[in-house]
Structures are given as structure tokens and as C-alpha cells.
Symmetry: C2
Subunit: 408 residues, 2 copies
């Protein structure tokens, strides 16, 4: 008998039929002898509907009132699931954020959890009841309703699992785990039985949107074992765990890709201190986030080229900004390309193995794919290629690292 936190996302509670199905799944776990805390998102589309109401009144709705409004979405689902559990003869009890004692900072729309006063839930569990907690919401020290931002329900689940020292935090979603890459691109892609937190962080930030990145960080900080599972299919899902597990690590765990990138280069900048800061400062003033940044050593003419990538939507404004900056820096000019894609290989194993980059570049070269930019971290290597190579590149890397094979 163990305590398990089960979190069900918006598609899992997207209709009354699905809520009934979730009730059955919760009871199944309960009947296996576990104590269960349930965390729910709002029904798919409900949060967007509420935001549209607010925006129809004012395009910048007051943040405190925005949170009061959108937090009703989860309050509806926790009540409905509790009704369904009662209808099956189980004593469930819904908890809004404030009833669950989820204290946050006062930053509306993206508050961070600071503390959980879990006595009421603790008592419920001790009595064999099923607490059903609204994800995504909390209360600040002045009694204002706050929300944690998009995907915040994952964070609520992980935080409760940490506070109550749950054996596992199960994130039920519409995919049955974390894959070596997107199965729509590579049919041979395999579900990973285990990934490390660090890999998950890289995979989440690179676009494998199964789990909110802040929830992953939170789980890492408090050593919470998290498992991603499908609400609709049975299966063990993917366990997100710590690197020092006894398992031998694969060199590379997965291939992530991102289509929504654009590349900009300021060419022929006279080499001088502070150039990078000057260029990125001008870009960030326009609230544009920069992803990969590459600067080479000065060439024979003592000038440098400075490249970076941005979200494709920000490309036109970034280009405008750079043209001005280029003139001010007396650079040769600006070139850009919004028909690019980013491919990344991720794996904690590459830390201790040389040659991973060589394998990557060789595979891409044999496929005739030209690499435009390279960026590396301890556990990932990202390259920018022409957009048309996204699928073939992902496939050849998946094969080159043997990801279609079971790990030894």
C-alpha cells in the first residue's frame, strides 16, 4: 500500500464520458490497495473559453481577476469527478487550491508554489477518502486566488507528491509515454521505459510537450518519481527518474526537433568587446526570446559573424532590429532564414562518451544534409538544418543511434 498522486489532463476530463472513465481508473488504483490523491486540469478548451471572455472585455485583463476567472475551470472538473466517485460509492472530496492549502507567491497568472498546508488532505487520506484537487491554482498570503500558468496542473501534482512523500506522481495524458522521437515522423520510434530528469528537461524544452518543464524542475528538486501514462490505453508509460539509477544509460535517449525556428546572422562585425551583448540587448528589448547563439572566432579580416535563432513568429521584427544594429556596428550586413529546423540529440550517456557528435555529423552528412549551426550542452547536441531536412534528418539520427532497438 503506497500513496500515489494521479494527475489527469484536459483531454482526459474533456467530456462527461471521460470523467466517468477517470473515476473508474481512480477506483481501480484504490482497489489495488493504494491511497490516491487526484489532481485535475480543466476540461479541454474551457480555459481558452474563459480567457476569450476576459479578452472580449479588455485585451489586458486585470491579472488578479483573470486568475479568479480561469481558476473556475478546474473547480468544475473536481466537483464533477467527485460526484462520479460518490455515485460509485467512494468517499471523494474536492479541494480548490485554497482548500488544499496550496500557497503561492503573488505573481498572478504564473505564481510559484511556496508551501503546502496539507492537513485537510492528510486527514482525508487517513480516513481512506479520495481527495480530488484542482490543479493550476493556489492562494497567496493575502488570500488572493492565483494560477500557476499553462501546464501548472503538472506542477500541482508534483508539488503534492513531494509534500506527501508519494511513492509516485502519475501524469495521465493522451500519449502513453515519452518516445525516442515523434512516431508520426519515425514509425519505429519506441516508448522509453525510463528517462532521467535532465533528459526530460531537454526533451520538454525542445518540444516533446508531454510534461510541463516547471513540473520537471520541481520533481528534480524534490526527488519525486514521475511517470507519464496514457488515460486511454493500459501500459507502464515512462518513468522519469534520477541519473544514478542502477540502469546502464544509453548514449542517446531521444531525438527532439523544432520547426518553429528562424536564423539570423550579422556578418562581418569588426571584432570588439561587448558586441554580443549589444546585439542581444537590442533584440531582447523587443521582448524576443533567443534560443541558440553561435559566434565564431574572428576571420582573416578580423571580423566576426554572430548568429542566433528565434521563434519563427518573431523573425520579421528581429530582422528589422538587426538591420539597424548592423549599421551602428559598422558590420557588413544581415542575413536571415526562416525556413530552418532544429534537430537535437539528447542523452545523459553522452557526458562520458566521446564520439557522439561525430556519429551525429557523419549520419547527417551521409544523408546529404548540410549543418548550418551547431550548439551543445552537457547532455544534448542541437543542429540547425534546412527545414526540408527535418524528417529525413530525424529518421537518420534515430537509426544512427540505434533508437529503434531495445536497449541492451
Amino acid at each position: 500500500m503506497a500513496l500515489i498522486v494521479q494527475k489527469y489532463g484536459g483531454t482526459s476530463v474533456g467530456s462527461l464520458e471521460r470523467i466517468q472513465h477517470v473515476a473508474d481508473k481512480v477506483i481501480q488504483a484504490k482497489q489495488q490497495g493504494h491511497d490516491i490523491i487526484v489532481v485535475l486540469s480543466a476540461m479541454t478548451g474551457e480555459t481558452d473559453r474563459l480567457i476569450q471572455l476576459a479578452r472580449a472585455i479588455h485585451d489586458q485583463p486585470n491579472p488578479r481577476e483573470y486568475d479568479v476567472l480561469v481558476s473556475t475551470g478546474e473547480q468544475v472538473t473536481i466537483a464533477l469527478l467527485s460526484i462520479a466517485l460518490h455515485a460509485r460509492g467512494y468517499h471523494a472530496r474536492s479541494y480548490t487550491g485554497w482548500q488544499a492549502g496550496i500557497e503561492t507567491c503573488s505573481t498572478h497568472k504564473r505564481a510559484r508554489i511556496t508551501k503546502i498546508n496539507g492537513q485537510a488532505i492528510q486527514d482525508d487520506i487517513a480516513n481512506g477518502h479520495i481527495p480530488v484537487v484542482a490543479g493550476f491554482q493556489g492562494i497567496d498570503s493575502s488570500g488572493n486566488i492565483t494560477t500557476l500558468g499553462r501546464g501548472g496542473s503538472d506542477t500541482t501534482a508534483v508539488a503534492l507528491a513531494a509534500a506527501f512523500k508519494a511513492k509516485e506522481c502519475q501524469i495521465f495524458t493522451d500519449v502513453d509515454g515519452v518516445y525516442t522521437t515523434d512516431p508520426r515522423i519515425v514509425p519505429e520510434a519506441r516508448r522509453l521505459p525510463i528517462v532521467t530528469f535532465e533528459e526530460m528537461l531537454e526533451l520538454a524544452s525542445l518540444g516533446a510537450k508531454v510534461l510541463q518543464i516547471r513540473a520537471v524542475e520541481f520533481a528534480g528538486k524534490y526527488n519525486v518519481p514521475v511517470r507519464v501514462l496514457s488515460t486511454f490505453n493500459e501500459g507502464p508509460g515512462t518513468l522519469i527518474t534520477f541519473e544514478d539509477s542502477s540502469m546502464e544509460q544509453a548514449l542517446v535517449s531521444g531525438i527532439a526537433f523544432d520547426r518553429n525556428q528562424a536564423k539570423l546572422t550579422v556578418c562581418g562585425i569588426p571584432d570588439a568587446p561587448g558586441v554580443a551583448k549589444y546585439i542581444l540587448g537590442a533584440v531582447s528589448e523587443k521582448n524576443i526570446d533567443v534560443d541558440m547563439i553561435v559566434q565564431n572566432v574572428p576571420g582573416v579580416d578580423q571580423t566576426i559573424d554572430f548568429s542566433f535563432t528565434v521563434h519563427r513568429d518573431d523573425y520579421p521584427i528581429a530582422l528589422e532590429v538587426l538591420k539597424e544594429v548592423s549599421t551602428q556596428l559598422n558590420a557588413k550586413g544581415v542575413v536571415g532564414d526562416d525556413k530552418i529546423a532544429k534537430l537535437s540529440i539528447v542523452g545523459v550517456g553522452m557526458r562520458s562518451h566521446a564520439g557522439v557528435a561525430t556519429t551525429m555529423f557523419k549520419a547527417l552528412g551521409e544523408e546529404g544534409i548540410n549543418i548550418q549551426l551547431i550548439s551543445t550542452s552537457e547532455i544534448k547536441i542541437s543542429v540547425v538544418v534546412n527545414e526540408k531536412h527535418l524528417e529525413s534528418g530525424t529518421r537518420c539520427l534515430h537509426s544512427a543511434f540505434g533508437l529503434h532497438l531495445e536497449h541492451p
Copy 2:
């Protein structure tokens, strides 16, 4: 400068356009120098939509969870109005029931307010802000969300007006006040500038549904002046006040009617103690509410006739029950009629004036309307007539008591 509580009902906040209109009205009152506390209902239809969701899962939804669910309706409107007020440059702050400190008993779905801890709202008012409070909801001593039952937002408004000693509690609705009778029946019907609480209680319970009866009782208990006004038209509305106001009272203030009645009579019951209790006990066992009750003195054959009225929907079951009772009591038989209407004249003035009943019966007689049952209280006289006489009866009584004329 005075404190005013303004309550807006479901039709008044039934769309985004109407919420914008309410924001304008609140600001108008604020600009006149008043402190304002706003109380809101859910958008028209929203509470019903939520109840249908619950009932689709289980026909007897758990009451605690039912309250968690339906209380989201008002949480949406308070947030939206606060956003609209902020957009106009006014500092508004929404309050759910628990944030407003509205404590209730633990009877879910029809809780009663026991106490208001109004410090937060008090501080807001002191700072010139506009508190926007969710009607219809509160919190019990264990921190559970409760609701006050249908029309409970009126009660919330009156309770806040009492707690903060407001000068006036303004109930904004889709009619512009309390009328001498329904203007759709009698075009000459006049809006009453003033009615007493007792008259309002009789008028509310007789079907003039402008104000929830529990709210009227609450207002009477705490001496809260309540005014019924239209959200959509300007005007002074109707002030509901105390009998001992300096105004001379009219004999009769209004004519109420009710179409949804049915009449049943057990005839020729041998006169014996406990007969009434026996009959009504059998009816109430079926959860049928009885309205008018009339029993005459025994006739020459030493038997009595016992009559009462019920809601028309309950007529078939009540008739079944009475047939059985009639046999048990050795009565002559049961007759019933569901084609009846109840007409009532209401007025505190009739207390101190004889002859009101005479005027009533004379007017109906001259119109050729036969009276089937009569029932009286201190400030009202009700008669049951054939349904076909409802309109002509209401018109002739309205005229007989001079209600189309301005009071002297």
C-alpha cells in the same frame, strides 16, 4: 456620501455587453459620491447548465460537490465585472463567498448565512475601492463551499447591506419595480413607489417574483431598506420599507394572482377531532405542499367539507391520496378541480379598515365571478375562482380599489 449595496441578477449580467453596461451603472453611482458594494448572480442559464452537467453524471449529485460546482457561475461574473471596472480605471476587487467572509450553516444547496466577517471588504471601501461579491455562496465552519439556494444572491445582498449598515440595498432586475398587479393583465397597473415588508412578503409568496422571499424576511429582520430597480431603464423603482413610515397607507397595495393552483375537497366527513391533521398528514407524506386550507362548520347532517389547494403539478397524486383517505374517514367522497386560479388583495392598510372584504366580494359579484374558497390573513384576502375569471377578476379588483389612481 452613503454606502449602497447594488445587486445585479442573472439577466443583468447575461452577456458581455450587459456586464459592460453594469460596469457603467456602478461607476455612475460611484461618481455620485457613494461607496458601492456590488453583488452578482451567475449569467442567465449558467447555473442550469452546471446543474445539468452534475445530473448527467448522477441524478442525485453529492450535495457538497454540487455546491462546489454551481458556485463557479458567480465566480465567473465577479471576475468579468471587475475586469470591466479596471478597464475603466476603477479599482475593483472580486470576492468569492469565502473571501467575503460569508459564513453559513453546513446545509448544502440551501445554506443560511450565520455571520459575515467583513474586514477585507471594509478595508476596500475605506480605500475607495469597489468590492464585487459573488452572490448565492458562502463557506461553512469547516471550510466547505456552500450555496444559499435559488435566488440566494438577493439574500447575500441584503445580508451585506445589514452587516455594513448600508443606506440602501438596490436589487437591479429586468422589471422596474413592484406593480399594483401584472401589467400584462391590467395595462393600467402602476409601479408602487413604496411597499411595506409585510406586503412584499405576501406579494412575493403569491407569485410576484421580483424578489426572493428569504431576502425579504432577512431585510425585515435587520431593517434594511431594499429598492427594486430596472437594470435597463432609469427610474426610482420601488422602495420596500417599514409600516411605521410617515406615509399614509393605502387600503390595498396590490393584486396578486396564481394560475398554478388546483383545489381538492373531501366532502361529508363525519365531524371528529383530528380530521384535518389526518387528511393533511396523508398529503404531506407525499411531499406535497398545501397552500390555502378551508374548513367550514358542520352542516345539519353533522358532517364537514374540508378543502385545500395544491400546486397544479401535484393535483393527480393528491387526488389519489384523498380517495383513499376519504374511504378511511367514511366520507361521502372527493371532488377536485385543477382549472382554478387564486386572486389576492394585499395591503397593510386593511388591518385597520373594515369593509375591504365587502368591496372585494361586491366587485367580483358584479363581474359575475363566483367565489369558490376564501382565505384571509391580517394583510391579505385570497379567493379561489374559476381559471377563466383570472384576468377579468384581477382587472375588476384593480379598479375597485382605485389602484390605477395615484395615492393621495
